[in-house]
Symmetry: C2
């Protein structure tokens, strides 16, 4: 059976990588073949030289999708953590996976600006980073995600439990 | 156990894709998880916009290597068919795979020019394709490939048998 693609989308700082990493650990502990494709890391390997225009972002997302689907085809559960701000591009890429979950990692802009773990929002607000999602570039939230997690209201552990329950319901039990 | 990366290198028209496809069929028939990454197809998905300068070729080969190693990590036998003309770049990419075979698909330039299945050599010789390996761009043959196949002397079937024997010797039996 082909593997599942679990696609985490959301603003920078919303908690995508944190949740994907926590889920990865739980799935690995249960013996599954799991691969986490982190948008930033994959960009370094597959999309050096691309910027943050819509066209370049879309190319990067399509490349991540291509790799995710290749792995899933061989039974690997693939967790993708990528801002992936454009609704149509996410839909296009996820349409190629035979089994997938779109996870909206959602925190209000005010919350992620306050967290600002990497100091990027402060820079973006000072105009030092052009094309910064949520500040100077759009983010199009999913209209009907498979899982919608408000990370300002739920703990990491609660979010992971919600994800595991959903995987379980869809018979891809952890 | 991690999967094997079988890397087919050689001139355009030497028979890389033909052999990789034939080997893929044999390995699939024996129940293995196999993925064939064809240089031209992968270039379309991962390296649109890149050209054929040394830098761009190297980027493309590194991307193919990144994907091949990801798949191999999950137990997939990965067959890569790519001209991959630069020795150092092939070595660099193959060094990242824990189990690998470098296969030199070798036919004299005169032979591949005569075959010219895609009509590319004729064009390149007329100067219509810049950076064409073997005509206007270098090809650095492996110095000690794991398998060296002279496709002007051996049949496809003989080459595939040689490959299967080598896989077998290395206990990755088909």
């Amino acid at each position: 059976m082909s593997g599942l693609v679990v696609w985490f989308t959301g603003l920078s700082g919303a908690g995508k990588s944190t949740l994907a990493t926590a889920l990865e650990a739980r799935l690995k502990a249960s013996g599954q073949q799991v691969e986490l494709l982190d948008g930033d890391a994959v960009r370094e390997h597959l999309s050096k030289g691309l910027g943050f225009s819509r066209e370049d972002r879309d190319s990067n997302i399509r490349r991540i999708g291509f790799v995710a689907n290749l792995l899933a085809k061989h039974g690997v559960t693939v967790l993708v953590s990528a801002i992936s701000p454009y609704r149509d591009t996410r839909s296009e890429v996820l349409a190629q996976a035979s089994r997938k979950l779109e996870v909206f990692v959602d925190a209000p802009l005010e919350t992620v600006k306050e967290r600002d773990v990497k100091g990027l929002y402060a820079k973006a607000l000072r105009g030092e980073i052009p094309h910064f999602t949520g500040v100077s570039d759009p983010y199009e939230p999913p209209l009907s995600p498979d899982v919608h997690l408000r990370t300002d209201l739920l703990s990491i552990e609660e979010c992971v439990e919600r994800l595991l329950e959903t995987l379980d319901e869809r018979e891809v039990a952890a």
